[in-house]
C-alpha cells in the first residue's frame, strides 16, 4: 500500500512537472468525456421534457382525427363515441389559427374550440378564473381561457381575468388562465367550440380526445373508437386513432437509440484520447530510461516499475476525466441558459465515462509500462 501511494505521489509530481504536455495529453480525454456527458445529458433532458408534456395529458388518452376532407362529422357524431363502455369521456375540438390583438400588441395563436369536458380530459389545469362551460357553448359567447405564454405576450401580466382582446374580428373576454406547463399548451387560447365553429364558418369537427376508463383499458377503448369511427365514416382509411402511450413508447425508443448513438460517437473520441496517452507514456518511458535503470539498480522490482508507469497513465486519464466532468457541468449550465431550460447532468453517462477513463488508463498504459519494466538495469543505465 505504501508502494501504491509512493507511486501515486510520483505520478502526480511527474504530471505537474510537465504541465503543458500533460494537459495536451489529457485534452483528448477531456474532450471525449465532455462530449459523452453533454450530448447524452442534452438528449436525455429533451426526451424527458417531451415525454413529460405528453404523459401530462394522460396515458389513458386516445386521439381521434378525421383525415378525409370530404367527410364532415359534427359534435353529435363525435359524442356517440361516449356511448361505449370502455370510453370515459370525449372531448371534440376544433383548432382555428388566428392573430390575437390587445391594444397595439399582436401575437399569433392557435385558438382551440372546446367543450366543457376538454380541460379535464386533456389534463390542463386552471391557474385562476374558470374554464369553458356548457352555457358558453349554448350562447356562443366570446369568452376565452388563455395559456400563460399568451397572457405574457398580450398583457405582460398574469392578472388577466376580465381583460379583453380582439381575434378574428370579435372581442373576447378572458375568463380563465391556464397553469404554466412548459409545453406548447402555454401558447393556447381555449374558446367555446360553438364559437370556433362560427369563426370557421363550418360545423365540421376533425379531431377529438377520447379518454379510456383506465390506463388498462386503453386497448379496448381504442378498438371501440376505431369501430365507431368506421361506422360513422364508412371508410377505414379516412380516420386515425392514436394511442398516446404507444406514441410515448415510440418516442422513447427513438430517443434512447439517439443518445446511444451520440454516446457511441463520443466514446470513439475517448478511445482516440487513450491512444494519445499511450503515445505520451511511450515517450516518457524512452525519456526516463536512465531513471528506470537507476531505480532497478537500487532494488526496484519489475512490478514496481510497472506500477509506476501504469499509475501515471491512470492519473493522466482520470484527471482528464474529472476535468472533462467539471467542464461539462459548466457547459450544460451555459447551454441551459442559452436554450432557457434546465439540463441535469446524466449521472449514468458521467459514471460510465469516468469508468471508461480508468479502463483507458490501464489498457493504454499497460503496454508502455510493460515495456519499461522489461528493460534490464544495465541496458537502461547505459543509455544516457
Amino acid at each position: 500500500m505504501t508502494m501504491f501511494f509512493n507511486s501515486l505521489r510520483l505520478a502526480m509530481r511527474s504530471t505537474l512537472a510537465n504541465k503543458m504536455r500533460s494537459f495536451l495529453t489529457m485534452l483528448g480525454i477531456i474532450i471525449g468525456v465532455m462530449s459523452v456527458i453533454i450530448l447524452v445529458s442534452i438528449a436525455q433532458s429533451t426526451t424527458s421534457s417531451i415525454t413529460n408534456a405528453i404523459s401530462s395529458m394522460g396515458s389513458d388518452l386516445l386521439t381521434v382525427s378525421v383525415t378525409d376532407e370530404d367527410i364532415t362529422l359534427d359534435l353529435d357524431d363525435f359524442m356517440t363515441l361516449a356511448d361505449y363502455d370502455g370510453i370515459a369521456g370525449v372531448a371534440p375540438y376544433l383548432t382555428v389559427s388566428s392573430t390575437a390583438r390587445s391594444g397595439s400588441t399582436y401575437t399569433s395563436v392557435s385558438a382551440v374550440g372546446v367543450t366543457g369536458d376538454y380541460m379535464e380530459i386533456a389534463g390542463s389545469d386552471l391557474e385562476s378564473g374558470r374554464g369553458i362551460v356548457a352555457s358558453d357553448l349554448e350562447w356562443r359567447t366570446y369568452t376565452a381561457v388563455i395559456g400563460s405564454g399568451v397572457a405574457g405576450d398580450l398583457f405582460e401580466s398574469y392578472d388577466v381575468i376580465g381583460k379583453t382582446f380582439k381575434m378574428s374580428g370579435h372581442t373576447f373576454t378572458v375568463v380563465g388562465l391556464l397553469s404554466e406547463s412548459g409545453s406548447s399548451n402555454d401558447s393556447q387560447i381555449l374558446i367555446p367550440l360553438t364559437t370556433a365553429q362560427r369563426i370557421a364558418d363550418s360545423t365540421a369537427i376533425t379531431s377529438a380526445y377520447v379518454q379510456a376508463t383506465s390506463t388498462n383499458t386503453v386497448d379496448i377503448a381504442q378498438a371501440q373508437a376505431e369501430y365507431q369511427m368506421l361506422l360513422l365514416t364508412g371508410d377505414e382509411d379516412s380516420y386515425d386513432v392514436y394511442n398516446m402511450s404507444e406514441l410515448l413508447d415510440t418516442l422513447d425508443d427513438v430517443m434512447s437509440t439517439l443518445s446511444l448513438m451520440l454516446g457511441g460517437i463520443a466514446a470513439i473520441s475517448l478511445l482516440v484520447g487513450g491512444i494519445g496517452i499511450m503515445n505520451i507514456m511511450l515517450v516518457s518511458v524512452a525519456e526516463r530510461t536512465r531513471e528506470i535503470g537507476i531505480r532497478k539498480a537500487i532494488g526496484a522490482r519489475r512490478s514496481h516499475i510497472m506500477m509506476q508507469f501504469l499509475i501515471e497513465a491512470c492519473v493522466l486519464s482520470i484527471l482528464g476525466g474529472l476535468i472533462g466532468l467539471g467542464l461539462s457541468a459548466l457547459g450544460l449550465q451555459i447551454f441551459g441558459m442559452i436554450a432557457d431550460m434546465t439540463i441535469a447532468i446524466e449521472w449514468r453517462a458521467a459514471i460510465i465515462a469516468l469508468l471508461f477513463c480508468v479502463v483507458i488508463g490501464v489498457a493504454f498504459g499497460s503496454y508502455p509500462a510493460a515495456k519499461a519494466s522489461k528493460m534490464t538495469p544495465i541496458e537502461a543505465l547505459q543509455r544516457n
Binding site: 508502494m3 509512493n6 531505480r295 539498480a297 532494488g299 522490482r301 519489475r302 512490478s303 544495465i378 544516457n384
Partner: protein
C-alpha cells in the same frame, strides 16, 4: 563473502568476439577493500555488473553471502540489489527531479519501510557523508563532489554491507576526488566490504589489495598482467 568462480561472459559485436570475462575467479572477504584496476575495455565494468547482480555471467558461479546468484529469480535479484549491495557510479546516477533526501530515501521505498523510518535513516546517512545541511537541494544545485557523497549516502542508507564503486572519482576534480576517497577509506575502516573499480593506479593503491584486469582475465599483480 563474495565468491566468483570461473566466470565467463562473451559479447559479439559485429564479427568480433569480446571476452569481457574469461575464467575470472575472485574471493572478497568481509570488510575487505579490493580495487579492480584495468584500462577501458578490459572487462572491469562487466565484472562490476555481475558482482552487482545487474548482469548474469554466461557460465561460472557467483556466490554472494552464501546465495548462488545464478539461481535467483528476477525479484530475488532486485531484493539482493536493494538489501546487500550499495552502488556508487561514475555518473552519480541520482534522479534530478528529487532532492538529496528523496534520492537517499529511494532504495528504502523498495525495502518497504515506513515513511518515518525512511526519513530517519536517510537523514542519518546524509549526516554520515557531511551533507545534513544540503538535504533539500536538488542534484543540479550540488557540486560533483557533493553529488557523489549523496550517492554514497544512498548506498549507506540501504544498510548494505557491500559497496561497489565504479570509478567514483572519474568525474571529479582532484580535491573532491580525494574527499570521496577519504570517505571510502573511512567506510572501509568501519567494516564495509568495498570493491572499487578504477583505471587509475594511484587510486587503486589506496585499497588493501588490487586485482588487475586484462581482456577479461584477472591477475594478482601488475607484472603478471603486463606479461600478456
Amino acid at each position: 563473502m563474495l565468491i566468483l568462480e570461473h566466470l565467463y561472459k562473451t559479447y559479439y559485436v559485429g564479427d568480433e568476439t569480446v571476452h569481457a570475462l574469461d575464467d575470472a575467479s575472485l574471493h572478497v572477504k568481509p570488510a575487505e577493500f579490493v580495487a579492480i584496476c584495468g584500462p577501458s575495455g578490459s572487462g572491469k565494468t562487466t565484472l562490476m555488473n555481475v558482482m552487482g547482480c545487474l548482469d548474469q555471467p554466461d557460465s561460472g558461479r557467483y556466490i554472494l553471502d552464501g546465495v548462488d546468484v545464478a539461481e535467483c529469480s528476477d525479484n530475488e535479484l532486485s531484493m539482493i540489489r536493494s538489501e546487500k549491495i550499495g552502488f556508487v557510479f561514475q555518473q552519480f546516477n541520482l534522479l534530478d527531479s528529487m532532492s538529496a533526501l528523496e534520492n537517499v530515501e529511494l532504495p528504502l521505498i523498495y525495502q518497504k519501510l515506513s515513511q518515518k523510518e525512511r526519513i530517519e535513516r536517510a537523514k542519518a546517512a546524509l549526516d554520515q557523508v557531511g551533507l545534513s545541511n544540503r538535504m533539500l537541494h536538488r542534484p543540479s544545485q550540488l557540486s560533483g563532489g557533493q553529488q557523489q557523497r549523496v550517492a554514497i549516502a544512498r548506498a549507506l542508507a540501504s544498510n548494505s554491507r557491500v559497496i561497489l564503486a565504479d570509478e567514483p572519482t572519474g568525474n571529479l576534480d582532484s580535491k573532491s576526488g580525494n574527499d570521496v576517497m577519504r570517505m571510502i577509506q573511512r567506510l572501509s575502516s568501519e567494516g564495509y566490504t568495498i570493491v572499487l573499480i578504477t583505471h587509475n593506479e594511484e587510486i587503486a593503491r589506496q585499497a588493501q589489495r588490487t586485482v588487475y584486469v586484462r581482456d577479461g582475465r584477472l591477475f594478482r599483480s601488475l607484472e603478471e598482467a603486463e606479461q600478456l
